[in-house]
C-alpha cells in the first residue's frame, strides 16, 4: 500500500472512531482542532482577586493541564498563539520573556507570531528570549533585511502534516508606527499584511495544496476604520480558512464568519491574559471545510 493511501485509511479510521460522518461523496472527513491564545502579556500566574471577571482565571500551569487533556482526546490538534506574549507582569520585568517562551515550549505550542509588545525590549532582547522557544514564530510582513538574526528566526509560513491532510500556517503583525519606538524595531520594516499575504496564501493553496490555511494575526479584530484589521483581511486576501487574532484584546463568544471568493473565513480571538483558551474545530472533506465551530474555554480553577 502506498504511504499516501495508508495515511488516508488511517485518517478514515481515526475519523470513524470519533463520530460517524457522511458526505454525499462517501469520503470520510478529516478533522482538526486549533487551540489558541493571544496577548497573554506575561500572565504566567492566574489573575489575583480584585480583577473583576478575570479574578482567579488564567495561569500557564492550568492551561498546560487543559491542553494535555485535549491532546490526549483529540488526534489532530495544534496549539497556537497570536502574539504579545511580553509585558504586563513582574515576570516580564524579571525574566525578559525567557520564562514565557520556556513555559510555552513546555506546554507544547506548535507556533506563535510576534506582537508589538514583543519588541518592548528591542530586537536583541527578543532574540535572546526566542532562544528559549522550541516552536517557530510565523510572520510574512516584517522586512528583516536590517536584522538578519531575526530574519533567520522567523518563518513566513510552515506546513503541518496530519494523516490524510495538510495545514498551512502563516502570521502577520501590526504596524510599528505609534506602537514601537524606532530604536526597538531597528532593522525591521513593516509591510502591509494584505500585500505580504497574497503570495503566501497563493503558494500554500495552489502550490503546496494544503487543505486548511490558518493565519496567526496580531492586527486587531476591528480597528473601526479603513486600517487593515482581521475583519478586512478575508476579502482582501481570499483563501484563509481561519484567523487566530490578537492585539485588540477582543473577547469573542464564537468565531466570526466572513464570506470570501474562495470560501469562508472564521475569525476568532479570546480576550487576553490567558483568561481563555480558544478552540476552533474544522471538518474537511476533500480539502473543503464542511463544518467549523469554535468557542472559548475559560481557564478556571477546579471547583
Amino acid at each position: 500500500m502506498e504511504r499516501r493511501h495508508f495515511l488516508a485509511s488511517m485518517a478514515a479510521a481515526a475519523a470513524a472512531a470519533q463520530l460517524p460522518l457522511r458526505g454525499s461523496e462517501g469520503s470520510p472527513a478529516s478533522r482538526i482542532t486549533l487551540l489558541h491564545t493571544n496577548d497573554t502579556h506575561s500572565h504566567i500566574e492566574p489573575f489575583g482577586p480584585g480583577n473583576g471577571q478575570a479574578s482567579g482565571k488564567g495561569g500557564m500551569a492550568r492551561r498546560s493541564t487543559m491542553v494535555k487533556q485535549l491532546r490526549a482526546a483529540i488526534p489532530n490538534l495544534l496549539l497556537l498563539d497570536a502574539g504579545d506574549t511580553f509585558q504586563g507582569t513582574p515576570y516580564f520585568n524579571q525574566y525578559k520573556g525567557k520564562l514565557d517562551f520556556e513555559l510555552m515550549s513546555k506546554v507544547g505550542y506548535d507556533a506563535s507570531t510576534l506582537g508589538n509588545h514583543d519588541f518592548d525590549n528591542g530586537v536583541d532582547m527578543l532574540l535572546e528570549a526566542m532562544e528559549f522557544a522550541k516552536f517557530p514564530f510565523l510572520n510574512c510582513n516584517f522586512d528583516c533585511k536590517g536584522a538578519p538574526a531575526l530574519a533567520k528566526r522567523l518563518r513566513p509560513w510552515i506546513i503541518k502534516e496530519f494523516p490524510g491532510f495538510k495545514v498551512g500556517l502563516t502570521g502577520v503583525g501590526v504596524d510599528f508606527k505609534g506602537l514601537v519606538s524606532a530604536e526597538n524595531h531597528k532593522g525591521v520594516d513593516w509591510i502591509s499584511p494584505d500585500e505580504a499575504l497574497k503570495p503566501v496564501i497563493h503558494h500554500l493553496r495552489d502550490v503546496e495544496k494544503v487543505d486548511l490555511v490558518v493565519l496567526l494575526s496580531h492586527m486587531g479584530y476591528d480597528l473601526h476604520g479603513d486600517a487593515v484589521d482581521d475583519l478586512h483581511l478575508p476579502k482582501l486576501v481570499p483563501g484563509i480558512d481561519a484567523i487566530i487574532g490578537g492585539h485588540s484584546h477582543t473577547f469573542l463568544d464564537q468565531p466570526t464568519k466572513i464570506q470570501q471568493d474562495r470560501g469562508e473565513t472564521h475569525i476568532f480571538q479570546v480576550g487576553w491574559g490567558g483568561i481563555n483558551l480558544g478552540r476552533m474545530d474544522f471538518a474537511m472533506i476533500k480539502s473543503q471545510v464542511r463544518a467549523a465551530s469554535g468557542r472559548p474555554i475559560s481557564v478556571m480553577a477546579s471547583a
Binding site: 463520530l19 454525499s24 482542532t33 500551569a61 492550568r62 513582574p90 519606538s181 463544518a291
Partner: protein
C-alpha cells in the same frame, strides 16, 4: 450491607459512568438534514465533538519550572513600600488623574534634582500608567503594575507656547494627559472652547519664554498623543527609569515615616460636557 442498597449503587455507578462518557464524547451531532433538503452540499453541524476538560489543575511539569521563579518574584515584589491611605487613581470619565499628577510631580522634582536647576513643567501620558495604586500598604509589585515599561526620564527645552500646545493636544487627543507645573481652566463651548493656562503659581505663561521640561523617552521619541513634546530641544536622557524613580519616591516617604498623599484636585478644570466632546474628538480648536 444489604443487597438492595448495593443495586442502586451499581446502577448509579453505571449512570455516572454514562454521564462522564457523555461529557467526553457527547452525542454525535446529526448531519444537517436541512442542508441536504435544500439540495446543497452536505453540512456537518459540528466540526468536532470530542474532547472536554476533566479538571482544572496545575500541571506539575510547568510548576517544576515555575515554582522557584515564583519564589524569586515574591521575594522582590512583595517587599513593602510606603502606605497610601487613599489609593491613587487615574480617574474615569473626566475625573482628575491624581495618579498622573503624582507621577508628573515626581518627574519634575527628580529632574530638577538631577539637573540642579528648576524644571518648570513635566508631562506623561495616561496610557503609560497601566494600573491604579490601591489604598493601603503599597508593595513593589504595585509600582511595577503602574509602570511596567522600561521608559526613562528625559529632560528637554521647550517654549511657553509649546508647553501650552502639549496640554491642548493632550485634551484634544485623549481628553487630557497629566502634567505638573501648569493650571488649566477649560471654558467656552464645544465648538469654541477657551483654554486658559497659567504656571501653577498663577503667573502668566509667556509664549516665547524657554523652560526646562521633564517627560519620558517614549513621548519624546515618538508616542503619538502629544506631538509638541517631540519638538523639544537639547534632550538629556537622565538614565533614571521611570519605575525606579517611583520606587525611590516611595522608599523616601517610607524612610521619613510619611504616607503617600494624593495631590490636590483642581489642577485641570475641565467641564464634563467639554471632556465628553474631547473624548469623542468633537471639541473644536
Amino acid at each position: 450491607m444489604r443487597l438492595d442498597s448495593l443495586v442502586p449503587a451499581a446502577i448509579l455507578a453505571v449512570l455516572s459512568l454514562a454521564c462522564q462518557k457523555a461529557v467526553i464524547a457527547p452525542k454525535p451531532a446529526p448531519v444537517a438534514s436541512q442542508a441536504e433538503s435544500q439540495n446543497s452540499a452536505p453540512q456537518l453541524l459540528q466540526a468536532q465533538s470530542i474532547g472536554a476538560i476533566q479538571e482544572y489543575v496545575d500541571d506539575p511539569e510547568v510548576m517544576k519550572i515555575l515554582s522557584p521563579k515564583q519564589a524569586e518574584i515574591r521575594a522582590t515584589f512583595d517587599l513593602p513600600l510606603c502606605a497610601c491611605p487613599t489609593g491613587l487613581f487615574r480617574g474615569r470619565n473626566g475625573e482628575e488623574n491624581l495618579l498622573g499628577y503624582w507621577v508628573t510631580d515626581i518627574m519634575r522634582a527628580r529632574a530638577s534634582m538631577i539637573l540642579g536647576k528648576p524644571v518648570k513643567f513635566a508631562m506623561t501620558n495616561s496610557g503609560g500608567l497601566r494600573a491604579n495604586l490601591p489604598a493601603g500598604q503599597l508593595k513593589v509589585s504595585d509600582i511595577y503594575g503602574v509602570m511596567p515599561f522600561e521608559n526613562e526620564l528625559v529632560t528637554i527645552e521647550m517654549t511657553g507656547q509649546e508647553v501650552m500646545d502639549a496640554i491642548t493636544q493632550g485634551i484634544l487627543h485623549r481628553g487630557s494627559e497629566p502634567s505638573s507645573g501648569v493650571k488649566l481652566v477649560l471654558s467656552g463651548t464645544v465648538d469654541k472652547p477657551d483654554f486658559l493656562m497659567t504656571w501653577d503659581d498663577g503667573t502668566a505663561i509667556r509664549p516665547e519664554e524657554t523652560v526646562t521640561v521633564a517627560t519620558t523617552d517614549y513621548l519624546y521619541n515618538g508616542g503619538d498623543s502629544i506631538p509638541a513634546l517631540k519638538k523639544g530641544r537639547r534632550p538629556f536622557t537622565t538614565g533614571v527609569s521611570m519605575r525606579q524613580m517611583l520606587l525611590d519616591a516611595c522608599a523616601e516617604l517610607a524612610k521619613a515615616g510619611k504616607p503617600l498623599a494624593a495631590p490636590a484636585l483642581g489642577r485641570y478644570n475641565i467641564p464634563q460636557e467639554l471632556y465628553t466632546a474631547a473624548r469623542e474628538h468633537k471639541l473644536g480648536h
